[in-house]
Symmetry: none
Subunit: 226 residues, 2 copies
């Protein structure tokens, strides 16, 4: 599915470099785009929302360091990875780059192997930080990718609605969800079910978890508390 494919934007003024990078990253299954100078890089980054931007340090209009600095001031790019391409292998420019907020640098001339494995490594690392929506609490973790809940290390299997209900509540601990909100989020705006249905599901979740983390707020709704 294309929503899973990572997008990479390359900014460099040398078409040959773009070509070689583009080819190798496409081979790896990435979706790759390019820009030929700093200004274009910023424009395309805004429209494409890439996961990774590879910036040549030396570019017309705006150089890579400037582009990086600008991107880092914008929240839209707070999760965007940045790699610098540098012709200078000297440490001072490397340090400068990483200071500005880049995540890695690659020295020219480019080795496809190095490029690809650095890029892969960066995504791997980054993925570990963004754990795919898993909610973690002291004795409880909720993994939406696996539709799986762990309580004190013990696996608990919830049915679809039960899981979605728990996940909704746990996504904002402490916040009270109105019964209507719950209906809309878990059942859908148009589905009509009786009020007791929620109660029954809440009960099953409480039962299966074997711990008291869902609090009833009388006349209002439910909240997750831990």
């Amino acid at each position: 599915m294309d929503t899973n494919r990572k997008r990479i934007l390359i900014a460099d003024d040398e078409p040959d470099i773009i070509e070689i990078i583009q080819y190798n990253l496409k081979q790896e299954g990435y979706e790759v785009f390019s820009a030929k100078d700093g200004d274009e890089a910023l424009v395309r980054a805004k429209e494409l929302k890439p996961d990774l931007v590879i910036l040549d340090i030396m570019m017309p209009k705006r150089n890579g360091v400037e582009v990086c600095r600008i991107m880092r001031t914008q929240t839209a790019f707070e999760n965007t990875l940045i790699i610098f391409l540098t012709a200078l292998s000297d440490e001072s420019s490397q340090i400068k780059g990483l200071d500005t907020g880049a995540d890695d640098y690659i020295s020219k001339p480019i080795s496809p192997k190095v490029l690809v494995s650095r890029v892969n490594a960066l995504f791997r690392r980054h993925k570990q930080e963004d754990n795919g929506g898993v909610l973690v609490f002291d004795q409880l973790s909720i993994d939406p990718q696996q539709y799986m809940v762990k309580v004190d290390g013990r696996d608990v299997t919830l049915a679809k609605k039960e899981f979605e209900l728990l996940y909704l509540l746990a996504s904002k601990p402490g916040r009270v969800f109105l019964r209507n909100e719950i209906l809309n989020q878990v059942w859908g705006n148009d589905v009509i079910v009786g009020d007791r249905t929620i109660d029954v599901h809440i009960r099953k979740v409480r039962q299966k978890l074997g711990m008291d983390c869902i609090t009833t707020v009388k006349g209002v709704g439910y909240k997750f508390d831990i």
Copy 2:
């Protein structure tokens, strides 16, 4: 035995450099050997079969680039990693080095930290890429190159769709794949098949494997668990 420890061969004509590299890599638990020129490097590489060779570009007898090129022509070294040591100033040699098939290079003067993390990173990456996508679990291995599956040492032949289905699920153990995802990945975005088709294939896989590693998540999809 030391079969698990990675072997590293260093070739450099400066004893000081060898010393510093050797010390730091041994600290990391690697088994480290050395050679003082290009010829000796080739000889020792043949007898030691190291996992990684660190070559100084400037060496007597044969320089690093030559050694690398020779090694790359021999199948015995096709999985051997190569790192070049280059002097900072010497950019053109970097070009040659990466062209010749090296996997990374490190500039002198050497920073122990950089050295160690580059070496570790290289092994880390290589480990993940070296087995051609074969998935290995305790009682089960799945080889996509041969469309072959082994269960407890016994060969199991799966049909194309069956195999692709299993491989998809097993590629991310624990993760639930939605029926739609499965359809897109295994059948293709545009192919339209009935709902029961997936079930039937799942059943055949379960049947043939004779073990319970595919879990149904009702209303959601299937996942591989072991």
